[in-house]
């Protein structure tokens, strides 16, 4: 991806930078731990890590307000942490334990929090897109000015139901922010091998939905774009598309042989474009925190993640009675 260094003079407060830093670092450390637990066999099945993409959800959550809803695909751990869900509950769901958000019955891809208005975790590629439009439809129906952040990947962007949702969202002026998290690989198929057009933010043009390209490795750029998007939606103008270019460092899931890209490509991205390193540099350059303070933040986050991992391994498996509960209300 072309390195688009921000040329804007930053007038962002140190406090805000530190907040973004903490939120992104939390996701990264959590995901690293999840990867480790997977390797130990404590987490089973599918486990899709968000490492590399942290700036997308952290930037957009900074543009959200109380009452907004969000939902995403199966790569959902970062979204849950960013909207304030408890890392213990998320990690314990990954291990399939009673203390998990779905009491162990959902797993990595299927968690929800009505309290935080996080509506999943969806395992079917693109199914969350019309659902996200429906959440926003409910906001409009109820007369609120809340929006729904509907995240999906570059792979999902080729699904037909995305365009069905675009059409209805535009037709009915539904306040939904469609966030295309373009990490450039749909599982192992690169964007150029799967998409007839490289600029996914233009995918709404046929439906009269404005879209913009966003540097997804820059949390501040994401936040600003998010603010424009929600302003558009809250004002009753209908949906908005953010084509956010990002990069996933890890494989699609844990069993990814990574034959479809070079090690050098990944390494270059990590070295030159890492969203956490970038913000850390800004903090250091602006002298918003001392090296010791940053170290303390790191330590604090590691402690939270480690506590979550302990909880996730000591929380009991769900009672066998749970097999037959929650099928019907």
């Amino acid at each position: 991806m072309p390195a688009k260094k921000s040329t804007r003079k930053s007038n962002i407060s140190g406090e805000e930078l530190l907040e973004h830093y903490k939120n992104m670092l939390m996701i990264r450390r959590f995901e690293e731990k999840a990867g480790q637990l997977y390797g130990m066999g404590v987490i089973g099945g599918f486990c899709h890590l968000y490492i590399g993409q942290e700036a997308v959800v952290v930037g957009l959550e900074a543009a959200a307000k109380e009452g907004d809803s969000r939902l995403t695909s199966y790569r959902d751990h970062g979204h849950m942490l960013a909207c304030g869900m408890d890392p213990k509950g998320v990690m314990a769901e990954l291990t399939g334990r009673e203390g998990g958000y779905s009491r162990g019955k959902g797993g990595s891809m299927h968690m929800f929090s009505t309290e935080k208005k996080f509506y999943g975790g969806h395992g079917i590629v693109a199914a969350q897109v019309p659902i996200g439009a429906g959440l926003a439809f409910a906001e409009k129906y109820n007369g609120t000015d809340n929006v729904s952040f509907t995240y999906f990947g570059d792979g999902a962007a080729n699904q037909g139901q995305v365009y069905e949702a675009f059409n209805m969202a535009s037709l009915w002026k539904i306040p939904v922010v469609f966030v295309i998290e373009n990490n450039q690989y749909a599982m192992g198929t690169s964007l150029e091998r799967a998409s007839s057009t490289p600029d996914l933010y233009t995918r709404g043009e046929a439906f009269n939905i404005p879209g913009e390209a966003v540097d997804g490795m820059n949390v501040l750029a994401v936040k600003e774009a998010g603010e424009r998007a929600v302003a558009h939606c809250r004002a009753g103008n209908g949906p908005y598309i953010l084509g956010v270019k990002t990069y996933r460092y890890r494989g699609h899931s844990m069993s990814d042989p990574a034959k479809y890209r070079t090690r050098e490509e990944v390494q270059k991205m990590k070295e030159e474009r890492d969203p956490i390193d970038n913000i850390r540099e800004m903090i250091e350059q602006g002298k918003h925190a001392t090296a010791d303070e940053l170290k303390a933040i790191d330590k604090e986050i590691k402690a939270v993640v480690s506590e979550a991992a302990d909880f996730a391994q000591t929380s009991p498996e769900p009672s066998v009675d749970e097999l037959y509960t929650d099928i019907l209300r």
Binding site: R103, A127, A133, Y141, N142, M168, R329
Partner: protein
Amino acid sequence: MAIQILMPALSPTMEEGTLAKWLVKEGDIVQSGDIMAEIETDKATMEFEAVDEGTIGKILIAEGTEGVAVNTAIAVLLEDGEDASAADTVEAPSPTADAPVTEEATTAPAQAITPVDVPMEDIPEGTTFTSTTVREALRDAMAEEMRREEKVFLMGEEVGQYQGAYKVSQGLLDEFGEKRVIDTPITEHGFAGLAVGAAFGGLNPIVEFMTFNFAMQAIDHIINSAAKTLYMSGGQMGCPMVFRGPNGAASRVGAQHSQCYAAWYAQIPGLKVVMPYSAADAKGLLKSAIRDPNPVIFLENEMIYGTSFDVPDLEDFTVPIGKAKIWREGEDVTLVSFGIGMKYALEAADKLAEEGISAEVVDLRSIRPIDYDTVLNSVKKTNRCVTVEEGFPVASIGNHLSAVIMERAFDYLDAPVINCTGKDVPMPYAANLEKLALVTTDEVIAAVKQVTYR
């Protein structure tokens, strides 16, 4: 030579209609394409155009006449040079005379279902009843629930301005407005998903599929998004909504538009599945479905939309989901059916009674959950069972019931259970083949005779 103008069939299932208005009078000259009359079917009011040129010699059916059968002569058209006297001498053409008819089947359209006396349970004594079509009963149920709860809304193709592709939502747009009666683009996958999201967001959508054949485009959302979320969220959030619309074979619409999905949806934990026969059950079950906190599949049938049944005049009449109904009691055999299958089961029971065989007829009404107890208790009494449904035979509801009966009432059986179903073929278009592809009353009677060793 004078030409008879015949009452046209304006839909696949139309058998009769109302000649609402003549737009021409005797003596008028018409060109082909001129609109001659307005004809009201049970679905819509349609304009009727002239095909030939000529002078209207005689109007045979006055405007306002109801129940005019398809192919009845309604007027006589005189060709150039003919005078009015020719109108009196014209002979009726025979529309089906040229079609060679095979032995077993006729080309006659399926017969209208005549109103049936409905056994009513849990109805207070002294309740009065109004004869109501299934179509009206469904509309009344939706209107009542929409009045009761602001969060209930209807969305689907042609539910608003068009008043419903099958006229089920007639009048709802006028009463509830565009916010709550929403015409969608033809995008089943998309609007089903959108409605699931609205339900996650706290609303109670009713999604109308123009037919359940089209719901196959949306089945991922029905099953993966709607049915499984309560479980996957550990009970945190469910999907309180209804997916409804006509299901099963209509008439002469071919393979892609004629399939029963009862067995498909019956398989899915997390769904409730309802398939009523009578108008009272349609109303009472739809009201229950709309109030239910779970996703409910509500399977209707176009062939019985126009059938009238008694519906109790109660302010808030509901029928519980998951409870079967015994339509008639009997001693010799249990007939278990649901939806339009009940028509064949009841007809068979009537004919069997004439031969001294007493059949008990159980209407499942709900396919999930199934009221096993009512079925098993009946089988334990009669010791014989025949199931009747229009769906495909493999992995049918009847197959499932047979297994349950075998497991739980084996020692009571005096004969193997027989499943009468639709045939294992895509629905053919030809009238004779279509009739053969569906389950028939005669097949039900034959099955009963087999299990009763008559």
